[in-house]
């Protein structure tokens, strides 16, 4: 198993840097993972990350891209409710990269 060290504490991750334990997540860990992805988290990133965590808590899975765009659009303004906007925030793909920063398991399958 791999791990990352943040503020002197070790957190277990999988080979690709996704946190193994959902409960390990905190703001510093999120910032650390984002930095490793060459991202600096802004308020706009946090809107998405926080929504992902809320959704996961309810459904035990990250939301579908369409569900995510719709929710973000509703909550934070229609100009943000599209996948292009999310790709700009998370260039590696909102599904995977945003999940990683939110401390959620990586979505699998043909996606």
């Amino acid at each position: 198993m791999s791990s990352i060290e943040v503020n002197g504490k070790n957190y277990e991750t999988d080979e690709e840097g996704y946190l193994t334990n959902l409960a390990d997540w905190n703001l510093d860990v999120a910032n650390y993972i984002a930095q490793a992805e060459n991202l600096k988290l802004t308020d706009q990133h946090w809107e998405v990350v926080n929504f992902l965590r809320e959704y996961y808590e309810e459904y035990q899975i990250a939301p579908a891209v369409r569900v995510l765009t719709k929710a973000i659009g509703k909550k934070f303004g229609p100009e943000k409710g599209n996948s292009q906007y999310l790709y700009e925030l998370f260039p590696y793909g909102p599904g995977k990269q945003a999940c990683k920063i939110a401390g959620l398991p990586k979505p699998t399958g043909c996606i």
Binding site: I61, P63, A64, V65, K70, Y87, G95, G109
Partner: protein, 508 residues
């Protein structure tokens, strides 16, 4: 973060590339951990007696599948396949030549199962199974997408994918499995689909789609889930519920059912068309995954089973569901017989969504406004498992014609990509067969090279800006690699995405 992955340059003349021995020797897909392996009944890690067990397993496979023995014996190394593989073209690693990849297994077969190999191994290219050989199997058999393009060119008809599948099965049996495929198989058994999308999340997603379609079209198009007594059970890849552009095709299927007045349902238990048991060459896994579908069909009492846009799902459905589950003739256990009695045999069982839609179009049961797709200049990428391992409709080549017919009925602008790269000679998207994983991204980008070269040509010559396809893997793979080749990621989409744009909901 991984180093930047860039696209290889297009070839000026598409000939056999210069060899780069060992170019991909270090590219190794993540190995499954103990938890993933044991969840689906494989040894958690490489067993101590892996050598003997691997040879025993090879012997069992040879006894069970005569085809495998024929394929291992028949090759004369003529080389016809060598430059037909997209991974070889893109990586230039000689071990990605189909003949060389097969020989990784064939050489060991010769050593242990043929007389000349037992007596004079060096003379006949036979070699002992060592740890290095085992690692090499893992590396290179997970650089094959089992697309079977090379088989089309083999004068003996050797099905190279079967050799890859056998190698993966042997590896799994000694505790050396691939993380991506085996984790997904575990999720299907536990949750019902490759994504791990639980029932409530699926219900929520579908509800949201009903709202979206209502808002966009004004019509109450339904996305039913777990409805007993529905006419059709739709089995589609779970990516259709989750990813873009996949979800646009799901909307298309729903609109077709709506416009034609066919009652249908999805199943939360069998919410997956994909069957990765095929990819790892494991019959028991393939059957177990397929049986979920039978269970749902029996529970809901449906009359028809229709398969959505998923390449290998259609291969499994078309070629194996009959004997695996009794969907189609072949199996004769009591549940299979019960299902046979239940299904309406005036229809093909199973039926591809494209067959269903095309039949409705031909009978004028749905109306399409082609102008709705005028912004799209379209080409069609044949997906390997549909093209080379299945059929649609009642005519030879129906699996090529029917999706194209639907596109041309839904849109005004359609152009084919170059000869030798479509129909049965189609190039793999570069992400099939269990390779659609981030840890193999470099391989996926390189493997997409031949498809991207011909796409570039139709884009340059005809202004093509949309590549339609009927496979969830192709859609996800292209979404990822198109931008690396300088295209817009939204350039790929489903055939039913085009239908969705064009279909008239009101007047039928």
């Amino acid at each position: 973060m991984a180093t930047e992955i860039t696209a290889p340059a297009y070839r000026i003349i598409p000939i056999i590339p210069a060899l780069k021995p060992g170019a991909m020797a270090e590219t190794k897909s993540f190995v499954a951990n103990e938890k993933i392996q044991e969840a689906i009944g494989f040894p958690g890690k490489l067993v101590d007696d892996w050598h003997d067990r691997a040879i025993t397993r090879m012997g069992e496979l040879l006894a069970k599948y005569r085809s495998l023995k024929v394929f291992l014996d028949a090759c004369v190394h003529c080389g016809a396949c060598s430059d037909k593989c997209h991974y070889f073209i893109g990586t230039q690693d000689p071990k990605n030549m189909p003949v060389a990849r097969q020989d990784l297994l064939r050489s060991v077969y010769r050593r242990y199962f043929t007389l000349p190999g037992k007596l004079f191994p060096k003379l006949v290219g036979a070699r002992d199974l060592t740890r290095e050989v085992l690692d090499e199997w893992y590396t290179y058999f997970y650089q094959c997408s089992e697309c079977r393009r090379c088989s089309v060119f083999c004068p003996y008809g050797i099905d190279t994918a079967e050799i890859t599948m056998a190698a993966r099965e042997i590896l799994d049996s000694v505790g050396y499995g691939q993380k991506y495929s085996n984790e997904i198989i575990g999720k299907v058994h536990k949750i019902g689909n490759n994504l791990g999308l639980p029932g409530p999340a699926l219900a929520d997603t579908l509800e949201g789609l009903e709202e979206d379609v209502k808002e966009a079209s004004g019509f109450d198009v339904r996305f039913p889930l777990d409805v007993k007594g529905a006419e059709v059970l739709l089995i589609t890849p779970s990516a259709d519920f989750f990813a873009e552009p996949h979800i646009d095709s799901l909307i298309g299927y729903a609109k077709v059912f709506h416009a034609a007045g066919i009652s249908w349902t999805l199943s939360s238990m069998a919410s997956e068309g994909g069957n990765f048991g095929l990819f790892i060459g494991n019959y028991d896994q393939m059957r177990k995954i397929a049986l979920r579908i039978r269970e749902a069909a029996l529970e809901f009492g449906v009359k028809r089973i229709v398969v959505g846009e998923c390449g290998h799902a259609w291969r499994v459905a078309y070629s194996f569901w009959n004997t695996l589950t009794g969907i189609g003739d072949g199996a004769n256990d009591p549940f299979a017989l019960q299902l046979q009695k239940q299904l309406d045999h005036r229809y093909k069982q199973p039926m591809h969504i494209c067959e269903l839609t095309w039949d409705l179009i031909e009978r004028n049961a749905i109306t399409l406004d082609k102008e709705a797709n005028d912004q799209h200049i379209i080409t069609f990428h044949d997906s390997c498992n549909v093209a080379r391992a299945s059929r649609m409709g009642d005519i030879l080549g129906g699996q090529f014609e029917i999706p194209r017919n639907i596109i041309m009925a839904s849109a005004n602008h359609f152009f084919e990509m170059g000869d030798g790269t479509t129909h049965e000679k189609t190039f793999c998207c570069g992400g099939g067969g269990g390779l659609l994983t981030d840890d193999l991204l470099e391989l996926r980008v390189k493997g997409a090279l031949p498809r991207m070269e011909v796409l570039q040509r139709v884009a340059d010559n005809h202004g093509v800006n949309f590549m339609a396809t009927i496979c969830a893997i192709c859609k996800a793979q292209f979404t990822k690699v198109l931008p690396i080749y300088g295209f817009d990621r939204r350039m790929v989409g489903g055939v039913h995405q085009l239908v969705s744009n064009a279909i008239r909901l009101g007047d039928k």
